[in-house]
């Protein structure tokens, strides 16, 4: 296999970022190529077809399905109001008139002479797509959306919940190993992207929600608290559509884990600046990680997003991502080519890491490290 290690998450002070902003169906693009946009600029708009309802006219009017088309008071394609009589038929030798009314406002889409069903479609639902991040429109996808480009400080998290949001960066913890406790949050954090240290709890997140915090960025979080936050056990890592009132981004993983120094310093350097945050995570084919983007001005050139793929080499900075050294950071000291047995007796490719904090060395499987990419 080409890569036996996990390509690292990006943490960089400046990267050219492109984000596609696409409508779910075709619609109208509202901005032009080269136009500057803010995070809240609406860039495209469309209307989703309304929900569909069925009305069984044959049973409501007690007629044969074949007779139903003849009972309609309005032709197919007409707009109707809620409660409007759409079909009627006489019964009991013409003494009684049965009627069928519409359950919702909408348009008559079709009627069947086999089943006697009428299909009614509700009015369309308007949908807008925002720019999400301050930048320029680099490309217009006709009738579908745009590509927004920005030069930004860029932090990829490992896991998040909640959708897209934006706000000023505020640093709430004093160090990357300090947990974000409820008492560290105050009304000044309203609408902000609050950066904590090693860990946060469900109680702190509840406080964040009460205060109207836009996003919380921390090193780790307990799964038990995530369960409480979502009200269910998260089975598969496909997130981003939760409506929690804020967005949560974990930079390191589950548990009490210090935020990586580099991430902490980078976010600290942009205190007070506007950041766009997305919690959307998808870990399947087409991996998507949560992110924090802090735009640094309009890019001078319209180049493709910079490539950052590098190999694993002696000296590479990495993070161990599984027990027994989970969360520790160090440099590659050796890359032995042969397979080596682990304590579990599996024979795999390994590397020797020298930890940054105490300069001790350990053997870890290459599959259990993650490059810290610049």
């Amino acid at each position: 296999m080409a890569h036996a290690y996990t390509p690292g998450l990006r943490v960089t002070d400046s990267a050219l970022i492109r984000r596609e902003r696409r409508l779910p169906l075709k619609g109208t693009v509202l901005v032009a190529r080269g136009e500057a946009v803010e995070a809240d600029t609406v860039v495209a708009r469309t209307e989703l077809p309304g929900n569909v309802h069925t009305v069984n006219i044959a049973s409501r009017l007690s007629v044969d399905p074949a007779q139903v088309p003849g009972t309609l008071r309005r032709p197919v394609g007409s707009k109707v109001e809620k409660g409007e009589v759409i079909a009627s038929a006489k019964s009991l030798f013409g003494l009684v008139t049965n009627t069928a009314q519409t359950p919702v406002e909408g348009t008559i889409e079709s009627v069947s002479h086999v089943t006697g069903q009428l299909i009614l479609r509700e009015p369309p639902i308007p949908v807008e797509v925002g720019a999400y991040v301050r930048g320029v429109v680099a490309e217009v996808l006709p009738e579908e959306g745009v590509v927004v480009e920005t030069q930004a400080a860029f932090v990829q998290g490992i896991f998040g919940v909640g959708g897209e949001t934006f706000g000023e960066v505020a640093i709430a913890a004093e160090s990357p190993d300090q947990p974000l406790l409820p008492e560290l949050l105050s009304p000044t954090h309203r609408g902000k992207v609050v950066v904590g240290g090693a860990y946060t709890s469900h109680a702190a997140l509840q406080r964040a929600r009460e205060l109207g915090v836009a996003a919380v960025v921390v090193g780790g979080f307990d799964d038990q608290d995530l369960r409480q936050l979502l009200g269910r056990d998260l089975g598969v890592a496909i997130t981003g559509s939760e409506e929690l009132g804020f967005t949560l981004v974990l930079t390191e993983g589950f548990g009490h884990i210090c935020m990586a120094d580099r991430t902490w310093r980078l976010l600290g350097a942009h205190r007070g600046e506007l950041a766009s945050v997305s919690g959307a995570t998808q870990i399947r084919a087409g991996v998507m990680r949560p992110e924090i983007l802090i735009p640094r001005g309009v890019p001078a050139r319209a180049a493709a997003e910079e490539s950052h793929a590098t190999g694993l080499e002696v000296g590479s900075l990495l993070r161990v991502i599984r027990e027994p050294h989970f969360g520790r950071i160090g440099h590659v000291a050796e890359l032995p080519p042969e397979l080596r047995p682990l304590e579990s007796e599996a024979k795999v490719r390994v590397l020797v890491v020298e930890f940054a904090d105490d300069h001790t060395r350990a053997v870890v499987p290459r599959a259990n490290v993650e490059l810290i990419a610049e």
């Binding site: 896991f159 599984r322 007796e345």
Partner: protein, 603 residues
Amino acid sequence: MIAPPESIRSILATDCGSTTTKAILIEKGPEGYRLVVRGEAPTTVEAPFEDVTRGVLNAVREVEELAGRKILEGERIVSPQSGDQGVDLYVSTSSAGGGLQMMVSGLVLQMTGESAQRAALGAGAIVMDVIALNDGRRPHEKIRRLRQLRPDMILLSGGTDGGDVKRVAEMAEILVAADPKARLGSDYRLPVIYAGNRDAAPLVRECLDSRTALTVVPNLRPSLEREELKPARDAIHELFMEHVMAHAPGYKKLMTWSPVPIMPTPGAVGIIIEKVARRDGIAVVGVDIGGATTDVFSVFQGVFNRTVSANLGMSYSVSNVMAEAGIENILRWVPFPVDEVELRNRVKNKMIRPTTIPQTLEDLVIEQAIAREALRLAFQQHRSLAVGLRGVQSERTISDIMTQTETGQSLVSLMDLGLLVGSGGVLSHAPRRVQAALMMIDAFLPEGLTHLAVDSIFMAPQLGVLSSVHEEAATQVFERDCLVRLGAVLAPVGPGKPGQPCLEVRLEAQGLPPLERSVRFGELVVLPLPEEGGAKLRATPDRGLDLGPGKGRALTAEVRGGVVGLIVDCRGRRPFALPTVSATRIDRLREWNRALGVYPRDV
């Protein structure tokens, strides 16, 4: 055009998985067909490559390097073989891009709905949802669901031939109102297969012909007593090639390389499992536990069934295993105390970094505990779908008066199971083979005598598609290079008390001294078997316990050899229960692990 089987000297087979493309080279030698080498490369269906053939070529290049022979000429597979170059046959399977995703519908969920589900699953599809008139959803909810999901294909069934047509038309109308879009692009019409009441076919055509790519095939449930899944399954395979594959990046090119249609990966695995069951005249269960999904295949009473548990797996879906099984069910297999908060975090960290592997022994034990639960749940789901036809009217005679049987009973009978085959990383790559054996035993709880095997490198898909054109080559490679025979498990059924006499076993194998052993209730022991060949077994259970011939009656059988041996499992069946007191449970687990040499030390 395919060359006559007897003239085929070399075969190249690939399986384009969602993450890895695997290629195998098979050559004919003096002793028949054998696997020569295997190569792999990342699958290239997604951006930036968006061409599946790139990954195939990379995997084939690795095969070329390892085998030291030329197969490619530029970007073309040389075929037929000329001298030392090229191969006589190239075949492929695919599950890239999420495999084949289908929605199925029937009139009654438990009858035509279930038959339609079996047809789609058997063809290798993932069933996203089953829509039926009695599924508890109102019409607009069904329509919304149909619109939300973007299946590759829809299988519409319903009604028996000659039955009510109005209800079938109603389902077709719901489909029209939903106007569902195909998953791979909006520029082609969604394939719909109609396999319902033949009298309703004209109405269905009227509704759907102009809006979808409609194919009408014979009813999959022509009468309540009969299920005919083959026409629907064949149509699924055909449309998979024509529509779905043709729209996936690079597949048009790939299809021209092989004279044999590309088959969905699980459909191909099903074919080889079915062939083995038929050849040996036994009931077989195969399980493939992957990162995201677990597939279970079975053949009981000659009936093939396949299910896929879409969210039970060891990496992407590992957290869902914990959610569905419950943390206490995972912990019951772990022979040391574990903090629940810590375990939850570990599982989630595996989910968000799915390619990591256990380094410590404790971590391995936890991973294997999760695998037991994933396998158990997947098998449970399989048992509930692999059932006889529901709604059948059966004649009862005077002798049936005392027995209460109902229709729709599971076909899966563990006492009849002859061979259990496991595959997927956690089973195929377990550091000790006995670990794979015990994981399967704990999860499936086989009864009586059952042989065990693992698929060494997951070649079953390639061999499945190969068997459709060259059965001899496929079965030879399957037996010699694909299957690793572990041995067998012998488990008496019935209750008992720990320590009381349970089983007398006598084993005679060529080259080994005869062995006699008394095993007590609650014990788990392993007896040696030769790796090749077999042994004669005579096992006599205590009164009240059954090995198949009846309570207290001796079982005499031939046991095939294997690398683990004959595991005698006297822990009880129906019920099988682990001690509820934590300390006792841990003691028992350690005792069993020691007896079988499962781990290098006590954990």
